[in-house]
């Protein structure tokens, strides 16, 4: 595994993604849901909303780094607010 150049932060990052995927898979099996239409006017399931959240969070982090520059962890706070908004309204 040395060639993959693992570090603790990236390992934790992938661990969190894996846990999220696992949790949402279990949720989908245990509590099946019907897709709903939100503000984007498209049908989304919980999985879709997770995807929109993760993709959007990546852009939020990049935008914070490019525009603000300092205090990168605060970007995670913005991502959290964004995630709540996506799961509530999308």
């Amino acid at each position: 595994m040395a060639w993959m150049a693992w570090t603790w932060p990236t390992a934790i990052f992938f661990g969190v993604i894996a846990m999220l995927l696992l949790t949402f898979t279990v949720l989908a099996i245990k509590f099946p849901e019907t897709p709903r239409t939100g503000v984007l006017r498209i049908e989304t399931t919980r999985g879709d909303r997770l995807f929109i959240t993760l993709l959007g969070s990546a852009f939020i982090n990049l935008a914070w780094l490019g525009l603000v520059g300092d205090n990168q962890p605060y970007a995670l706070g913005v991502c959290l607010v964004y995630a709540l908004a996506v799961f509530r309204w999308v």
Partner: protein, 289 residues
Amino acid sequence: MEKTVNQKAWFLVLPVLILVAFSAVIPLMTVVNYAFQDTFGNNQFFWAGLDWFDELLHSDRMWDALGRQIVFSAIILAIEIPLGIFVALNMPKKGFWASFCLVLMSLPLLIPWNVVGTIWQIFGRVDIGLLGYTLDKLGISYNYTQDFYAAWITVIVMDVWHWTSLVALLAYAGLQSIPDAYYQAAKIDQASRWKVFRYIELPKMMGVLMIAILLRFMDSFMIYTEPFVVTGGGPGNATTFLSIDLVKMALGQFDLGPAAAFSLMYFLVILLISWVFYTVMTNLDKRES
């Protein structure tokens, strides 16, 4: 009768999962790991944090390449989609000529990228190429290795030559699936040619057209071989698109960290645009059904 639920079938997907893991997921994870580190070779890495992302976001190099890439994709989509539809509308529907046209249209698609690049590189040369020589004799200054506009026009015309037939074939397939009754109804209503196109052919082609746009967008957004063979990214950086710049950074300069950060941002842009296209496509399908 009650349906039995057997989740064991999921194991049948396992070979695909393993294949995708080895060909896509593990390399992608490695790229993420590289993006936060620096290396001088010998498999030794040093933590660099967000430095590479910070550096790239504040450098003109990536933004310029991204700008060129977006302009290139927009231009080829704006040419290839209408041209492909136009060709499909004018192709014979039945008989020998229909098959002949289909074979003719498929030919450019069968030629490998680097061969297309080589063909156009020679074709455009002023000393031995038919196009370059003719333009030169007509008194038109054309040199794709030195002139910005000549390089762009060559790369765009080459892509249009190579890929318009894909759009035409997809649009043709969409047109062939329209039942005759629609045209008969339009005839009874004395609908004009434009109205037949606008209200019958275009809506019926929409599904395949979205696939054509998605395919052409993704392909043009990661174009590498053809411009690399013809212009090598030049003159200067005029045709240095994202993937050419990325390869220069990763393999030319061996800057694995910045190149990994670059490719992650490249990947995110492609993922976002592809998701938008996919969502529009599936919603169109749902609305139709």
